[in-house]
Amino acid sequence: MNNTGNAPVQLTDVRKVYGTGPGAVDALAGVTYEFAAGTFTAVMGPSGSGKSTLLHCAAGLDTPTTGDVHLAGRSLRGLDETSLTELRREHVAFVFQSFNLMPALTVRQNVVLPMTLAGKQPDDAWVTEVIRAVGLGERVKHRPSELSGGQQQRVAIARALAGRTAITFADEPTGALDTTTALEVLTLLRDQSRRLGQTIVMVTHDPVAASYADRVVFLVDGRIVSELRRGAVHPTAEAVAAELAQLSAGRLSPTES
């Protein structure tokens, strides 16, 4: 966390409280972190630890209760829905676990949807290349209901790439996929976005998925409790799993890390 300067995503003491009074939940209990440019970061943690909330706050989909978020160099504080949308449209792409394609649109229409909404003319050659790169060159005219889960997720990745946005947020992108398909999708996500120099923030609870990232951030009870960084190689699945096991043990007998 010693990075300074123009990290595309910066969180400063971000808190998110759901509800009020005695039933209130601190989904994020003060998170400060910078996602450095061009990195692929996995956010890990047990279920309910605040991973999705962190992703939503970082991407400007949700507003923190307190704290600041900078996205692509701009503070999100005080922006209304429309400005947030325009900012996201310009710089951010999303891949979610499921239900993230418009059922009425074809593969190609789904891929260019963010550009259509922004009123931009898609670069046809590039869109075709991206769709081919994710292996769906034969299926541009199909609708999501005619595709398998893995294929649908590839469409989502193609969409994230097609806009040439700087940052991609992914929430459990492999959660609904079998192991083999999940690995293909992860490889695709990593290799393709690296080619474009995109910054990726991926939420997952799967150590194997996390091992594709450059860095792994561990979240417990709304706090970042540790971080694994790539040295010469990626964090291995074993290392991630070991860290996770240790954290879970630590949570049972509370010791501050």
């Binding site: 999303f94 993230n100 259509t116 922004a118 969409r159 929430d171």
Partner: protein, 820 residues
Amino acid sequence: MFRLAVTTLRYRTAAFLAIFVAVLLGGALLSAAGGLLETGLRLNAPPQRLSAAPIVVTGDPAYHPPNGSGSAAFPERHRLDPALLTKLTTTPGVAKAISDRSFPAVITSLEPSGTALAGHGWTSAALTPYTLTAGRAPRAGQVVLDQRLADGAKPGDTVRVTIGGEPRRFTLAGIAVAQQQVDVPPVFFADADVPDGLDAIGVFPADGTSVRELAKRLDLPAGVKAYTGDERGVAEFSGIATGLPLIIMSGVFGGMVAVVMALVVSATIGLSVRQRRRELALLRASGATPRQVGRMVIAETMVVGVIGLVLGLLCGRIAGTWIFGRLADGGIVPSQLRFDQGALPFAGAAVLAFAVLRVTVGFAAGRAARIRPIQALAEAAVPNVALSRVRIVIGLVFAGATAAIALSTPFMGPANAAAIGGPAGLTGSIAVAVLAPLVIQRALLPRITRLVEKRGTSGTLAVINLRVRAVQFGAILVPITIATAIAMGNIYSQSTQQKAAVHAFTKNLAGNVVITSTSGGIPASLTDSVRTMPGVTAVSEVVRSKGWIEEPYDKSHTSDAWPLLGLSGPVYTGKVKQGSLDDLTGDTVALPPGTAKKLKVGVGSQIGLRLGDNALVKVKVVALTEGPSGYESLLLPAQLLAAHTTSGLPSQLLLKTSNKVHPDLSKWPGTTIGERELLGEGLDTGLGVDAWIAYLLAAIAVAYTAIASINTIAVAVLDRRREFGLQRLTGSTRREVSRMLRLEGLLIAALGLVAGLVTAAFTVFPIALATRGWPIPSGPVWILLIWVAVVLLLVLPTTAVTGRIAMRSKPMDALSSPVG
């Protein structure tokens, strides 16, 4: 964006079909209402029997109260002074003037036909014109028949014709045909056989004289007018005095259609937006601004709505003609009135329907625009009940208005009760539409939960579903509630008023036997013969008409006339406060004591009455008689009143008998004998128009419920494919899920019916209190039972069929379906 909107259309068939049909129906009915309005404003009744005369002079069929406010139709034919004929004949520019007199004539020897006013003098045959095809013009004791009446008879044959209630024999002199369509085939008499009096004068301008100019120039007494063109029908057909009933009806009807259309459309879009939350949120997450989402919802709905509207306007002519036809069949408007539906009604309907649609869609789109992108990611897609404060306030305002109207109605008196109390049904429906989801969740569900939970798992599931889907179920409930409220509220307040009016009329008349006539009236010979019959203790002729008290001027009855009741025997049982009804002969009247007090007159005073044929008669007050509160009439001698009616005869005979009598009526063809109930028959309660509004509204209520509930149910059930899949995966059988759906359907139907009946009660009970003095409505129970059956038949089969479709796929596939 627009393309995107259009692409989604075919994935939302059910919801868009509902909007499409609602707007189509709305457009058609609004242009029909516009047509009724235009017809009422123009009042064009092209003449038939009088069509040859370019100018027809006749009495203004509308009464204009002296203080100049409003107008009312004269209930009787308005007679002209015979001197006017001479005056018109000698007016410069007039080639000839021909008088016309219509009187009841019924042929009883041939195929019974001819109605009230088929008799005319042979001179008026030139007004059509009629030409002889056989025989010659009639002399005294002879008739000429329209060919349609002749029925094979030849000149020289004898025909029996009842005129003035008396059967008489005539020789058939000739047969004539019209050069023109004439709906009522006439019987022509020699001018010597025509009763006195003049109804109309046909004026033919001399060559070179302009019709318009001459019509304007004619010197006519007050209350007599010269009509030209299509307006001439006024002299021929009764009931064309004023377009007010049509104008009122078109206004109420059009307003109701617009409100119901708005409610159905907003409920449907609301439901569809709620169901697409995920998709719309996803669109937001993909970079759509709130405005873009709102615009998309507007665009896709307006595309469908405008197509529906255009088709609706195209059907507007059919709808208008059909409704007008029903009104004519029901005798609300004369069938000879021409239905005018020019460009304006369509333009008006288009603008109004479009505006209603656009505003409704705008509100719904605002809701869509507020959807946040993370809602695409939230796992549970159960909509929560969070009504905005504004909405609650609006709902409470309408609920308060409903209660206020209902509470004030009983104090309004029978005449105004319906006009005041009726809108309670509308405000109540709006309140229900606005507050339904909240009420379902907070008030109703906790109560029914306990009951239904006893039915085992499917019962519990049904209740849980109702609770979490309160908003969605609100959307299904609303059309059922509104339709029930409008249909039941209107029909039962109508039947209650009708019954109250008939009861009030007959209550004060003693007598157990009634004789009526279909051949124009009760002749004096019949009355005399009945009077001397053994067992008959009292006889009275009954004449009904309407009129006004002009001297001193009575402000209480202006556009709604006083009911006039003509009697000639001791049958009135109401309390006589002063004077005696024995003196009710000659030119006399009996007044209600309250009216006498207000007008500062008493027994012995002279007052001036404007009778139904526009005659002003001076009468002496001989008694003050009480009548049922709100339904008082003025009592007059039967003879005086009958002379001022169109037929000139009493319509009924009321008899008090000590034992069973079997009078021989064969001498008077067309007369029938019956019990007291006949007294109420043919009673003009002044409710005709209201009744028709009630039935029209009930009809559109049924139509809208059908579309709206079938569609909302289909949309709501199909949307739950995933949920059913999940339930089946977790162990429920297909039959259990079906049973749960059926229970839900029953609950919804029952809740909708109860809510609708409660809303209707806010109209019906106060009106019953105002008209009957007793808060229990009257009317046939079968209408309610049929309505319940209709609602159940709409809800249950739709639920069952869509449920089966929703469960057609395997549970696992349903779960992975992207449409949630």
